[in-house]
């Protein structure tokens, strides 16, 4: 299972995320990724582009080990994600900010409680955690809505809430899967502005999207996927 379009990751610089000959086969034999290799350095703003079914979501799910590779190596901060034991996964995920197309919010909790969730199992004391949550909400412009229920927010606001939750633990990498898919152009642009702001303070951002307009405006690195292989 190899991919002729990809090249192995080199180790000339301290890569934050590195894929080397990664293959992902789903049960039933569907090959979602075919020997993908690439590297992303610290502080980069990278896009994974491609049509629906190209393998973007699968690629992103491999980084926090939501899915495991069928072959190849995935290094995140020097850790081989594919070989991590189950009990080590939470600690990997705490260093990654994850944003999903469907936000994955808790709709029976307030905006504030949603952002507090990742801090509940961290080391911070109550006062510091509360301060951190409010700072994250302020960064995405939702501090005034902290007591609201997520169902009372617009689609764009819900996505901003998901971003606040993703960054509240101050991760080194922010990973977003189609975060603007259900948003209008203005909301989509505002979401990407937020990502760009985090990127400017050193957070590595990796966004999967099929929106070419957004890619042109923000990207420093574009990885194009087609039928499970990197084409660019």
């Amino acid at each position: 299972m190899t991919c002729s379009h990809s090249s192995p990751a080199t180790s000339q610089r301290p890569w934050l995320i590195s894929f080397s000959g990664v293959v992902k086969c789903y049960p039933g034999g569907q090959e979602a990724l075919k020997g993908v290799s690439f590297s992303i350095g610290p502080g980069e703003f990278a896009f994974i582009a491609g049509h629906s079914g190209a393998g973007k979501s699968t690629l992103l799910k491999l980084i926090p080990a939501i899915e495991r590779p069928s072959a190849g190596a995935i290094l995140v901060n020097g850790q081989n994600v594919g070989s991590l034991k189950r009990h080590a996964l939470p600690y990997l995920r705490r260093n990654l900010g994850l944003v999903f197309q469907d936000q994955k919010l808790l709709y029976d909790r307030s905006v504030y409680d949603n952002v507090m969730l990742p801090l509940a199992f961290g080391e911070l004391g109550a006062r510091e955690a509360a301060g951190r949550a409010r700072a994250a909400l302020e960064k995405v412009g939702l501090l005034a809505r902290e007591k609201a229920n997520p169902t009372q927010l617009s689609g764009g606001e819900q996505q901003r809430l998901a971003i606040a939750r993703a960054v509240v633990n101050r991760p080194s990498v922010l990973i977003a899967d189609e975060p603007t898919a259900n948003l209008d152009a203005d909301s989509a642009a505002s979401i990407l502005e937020i990502f760009a702001a985090f990127n400017q303070v050193g957070v590595t951002v990796l966004v999967a999207t099929h929106d070419e307009a957004l890619i042109g405006r923000f990207a420093t690195l574009v990885l194009r996927l087609a039928k499970g292989s990197l084409v660019e």
Binding site: P64, I66, R86, H87, P90, Y91, L92, R93, R94, L98, K104, L105, L106, L117, P118, A120, F121, G122, E123, G125, A126, R165, A166, N169
Partner: protein, 305 residues
Amino acid sequence: MRTWLRQHRQAIAAAFGKLAAQKSAALLNALVIGIALSLPAGGYAVLFSLRQVTLGATLEPQLSVFLRAEAKRAEADALGARLKGDARVGEARFVSREQALKELQATEGLAEVVAALNRNPLPDAFVVRPKAAPGADGASLDALARDLRALPGVAHVQVDSAWARRLGALAGTARLAVALLAALLAFGLVAITFNTIRLQILTQRAEIEISKLIGATDAFIRRPFFYLGALQGLTGGLLALAILGGSLAALNVGVAELAASYGSGFRLTFLAPGDALAVVLFSAGLGWFGAYLSVSRYLLEIEPK
């Protein structure tokens, strides 16, 4: 350590929150557990009360050797000497007819009957306790009784304490039945908690999935469910004690009346504080165990997608 304690505090608060959010269901579950636990706890309380009665009666085999009414004191002394000389006799205590009458007079409700008698109808007697020989059984006791009946001056030999032994055996069987009932109902309690926690896990599937996605450990996710199971068991245990207390109070009205007719002040007693605490802790422990089984079975199945 502070983080660990904080997380436990949060888990306990979350468990209380879940109970409060489903008051009716939680109360019904606790009631089912309480009723189930009150049965063996009640059985234990009744046995404990009866034990106080049987403890007052000797379970050691003993024989009462009654002399003929016309027997002289010299005959009694001679019989006493023979009894003490018998290798099978451990102790032979003489009870004179005067002493026997006094004891009878002291018995509740019989004083008037005794006072109405023209003369003392009771004979002199010996209370004989056989030597505790290894392998001694009912047959050897019967043989001793037969031999004693044949002695001169002896009118009647009665093997005492057989009833007490029977009561003891009955109490032993009842204790075993209570233990079996407790074991069976403990399984029931675990099953109830297992199912409650299973439903909770399914209800919170999305929350568990999201928590795992953003870095919650399995221990962090499991903890509130463990506390929920333990709290449910604890509440059930407390309810069991309340049910038991109420039932004993109601039963004691009739028991007191019945006991008074026998000249006794017997009452069914509530569990000792240590036993009551053990019931509550046992119930909480079983709740925790049920939650552990359920969480082990279902939590692993939920993974972020």
